[in-house]
Amino acid sequence: MRRSRPAVLVARRLLAVPVVLLALSTAVFLAMRLLPGSPATALSAGGGQTLTAAELSANQARVSQALGLDQPILTQYLRFLGDLVRLDLGSSFYGSNSVLGLLAGALPATIELTLLAMAIAVLLGVVSGVVAALRKGTWIDASARTVATVSFSLPWFALGVLGVVVFGVWLRWLPVIGRLPNALDYHPTTNFVLLDAILQDRPELVLPWLRYLILPATTLALSMAGFITRIVRASVLEVLGDDFVRTARMKGLAEGAVVRRHVLRNSWLPIVTVLGLQFGSLLGGSVITETVFSYPGVGSLLVKGVLQRDYPVVQGAALAIALLFTLVNVAVDLFYLVLDPRLRKG
């Protein structure tokens, strides 16, 4: 791999963000408009009214006009871009909720979910990956690898449904829908519950929040953990074969110190890259998981938007997901700088 200077690297990454987002929103814009079914039709017929055909088409025409859907696609697209430049994501066709407002509510929920999932996955994955690598060739290694491969293959929908049935219905240990119990009367400030618990001095929020979060987060985390196990194992094995590990042993360091000081820290580099990339698949998984758990994040916003043909919401949610992903990867690049002096200006 060719290495560039870090500042250049990060700058290039950041400069690419708008390009990526533009391309993405164009793709989503087009895909949405290619979908059969029009939001105007759904809105026009709303609520099981007794309509004549003439009334329906009149409604359709009026609604289309109100939503700007009667314009040619190019005009719609240019207007969409113009709004985008002004950071105006428009508002939902269904009611005039501003998309930014919807995202402000949903994004923190998704970030909480994915971060916790990531944390669980990293913990499980790193521990089992390191142990498997250090015990390479033993039954511990073999079983860790098998479990990892199986868990890595589990489809999210199956896992989610299973979790709901087992923990929510059979055992009744955990709540299965939503984000917080209604009785708590939560009025978000930042919509990050943990942060709000501190800001609003409401420690009683934390436990219920965790109880609601743990099942969807674990669902997401499990398949990711399998993946991380594999990566970590491979990475640690690779580092274990590196010459400087032999140097560390030559120094007379105890094995524990060798692993801690030399192996693990060096193994992080490839792991972190992969984690950044995997965050994308985690976001994809959150779309499904949020739907299964009726969890109010960007994923369920997006799915609902697609189902209702609510173009502005879909575009906004897709942008948010892509932005989140890109930023995480920029963060990974920055993290790299911290971790790897070879990338710093030398």
Partner: protein
């Protein structure tokens, strides 16, 4: 200069490979004396590294079988448990590896890597260890050691990295320094610098050095004694003068002859040893060099011991040829 620091008897190192067991070191006897530079020469795969790593158990593992005796300070290191060996490694016996860029941890500062070596074996403060490591870097000839101690390995040049490795090797004033091809990756101009450092060390600290190399020129420059390895065994051993300028073994002779010099007469053709070195699992029962030796005969079917034959008192070889045959084997270009 005569008391032995390290004595190796019947050392065997074998690796389990998919096809069987590879005898990388097939029964080696060797003595390292105080303050001497002993050069271990041989071609790639002849077992030089395997031999030296096994001295301090650095290549121990489930697929490695080490047997024989390495006596150091009254103990047999081959049998010593890992916990005991750890105390020897880095303190009494240290190793300088060939590829310094790979052998240094890319994420740690040069000075910190030297300091870690110190703190592993001595109870000193972080700051003291750092100061000492700066001093050591100065000692091995790194310019402005205070700044360069803060550099990461990738920021140093090849020669400087190799010196960091050497400084690390010296950190605890070891009795034995094993330098595994410390200059092979370096240019001749830089190689000259590093060899200078090694020589000075020996002079200043009285460290015994095992210098592993396949460059006979390097041997000629710095070694006191030389052991020539072929296919896991030592085929000739003696002082530098004896081995380089009065070689007894046909392999040593061939090797010496095949190196074109930078001065003296130019041969029309280089005298070459036919065939190629043994590296596989299958080894002949007798002399390993016999298949390439123009003078091999029936007696070579048995493995010759390494003993004194026609050389000086300490000049040993493992060849059954008689004196005239050896004389005939000596190629024209050979300097004697």
């Amino acid at each position: 200069m005569t008391d032995p620091v390290l004595e190796v008897r019947g050392l065997r190192v074998e690796f389990d490979l998919p096809g069987g067991r590879l005898p990388a070191v097939a029964g080696v006897d060797l003595t390292l004396r105080r303050g001497e530079i002993l050069a271990l020469v041989g071609e790639s795969g002849s077992g030089k590294s395997a031999l030296s790593m096994s001295l301090v158990g650095l290549n121990r593992g489930p697929r490695t079988h080490i047997s024989g005796e390495v006596s150091f300070g009254g103990r047999n290191l081959v049998e010593a448990p890992e916990s005991e060996l750890r105390l020897v490694r880095g303190k009494d016996i240290t190793v300088v590896f060939q590829d310094a860029l790979a052998a240094l941890n890319p994420l740690h500062r040069a000075g910190a890597q030297v300091a870690e070596m110190i703190r592993t074996h001595r109870d000193v403060s972080r700051a003291a260890a750092w100061d000492r490591s700066v001093a050591l870097l100065g000692e091995v000839g790194i310019a402005s050691p205070r700044e360069n101690a803060k550099a990461y390995p990738h920021q140093l040049s090849g020669g400087m990295r190799q010196r960091v490795m050497i400084a690390m090797g010296l950190a605890n004033d070891p009795a034995v320094l094993i330098a595994d091809e410390p200059t092979t990756a370096l240019d001749v101009t830089i190689q000259a610098q590093v060899l200078g450092v090694l020589e000075r060390l020996r002079a200043d600290h009285g460290t015994s050095i095992i210098l592993i190399t396949h460059d006979l020129g390097v041997v000629a420059e710095v070694a006191d004694r030389v052991a020539v390895m072929y296919a896991g065994a030592i085929v000739e051993q003696g002082t530098r003068e004896e081995v380089l300028f009065a070689p007894q073994h046909p392999y040593t002779m061939g090797l010496l002859a095949s190196v074109p010099p930078v001065d003296g007469p130019i041969a029309a053709r280089l005298p070459a040893i036919p065939g190629s070195p043994l590296t596989g699992i299958d080894r002949p029962a007798g002399c390993a060099f016999a298949p390439r030796c123009a003078f091999a005969h029936d007696a070579c079917a048995e493995r010759p011991a390494l003993t004194r034959r026609f050389g000086g008192p300490g000049h040993l070889d493992a060849c059954v040829l008689d004196e005239p045959a050896r004389a005939a084997a000596r190629p024209e270009g050979s300097r004697s």
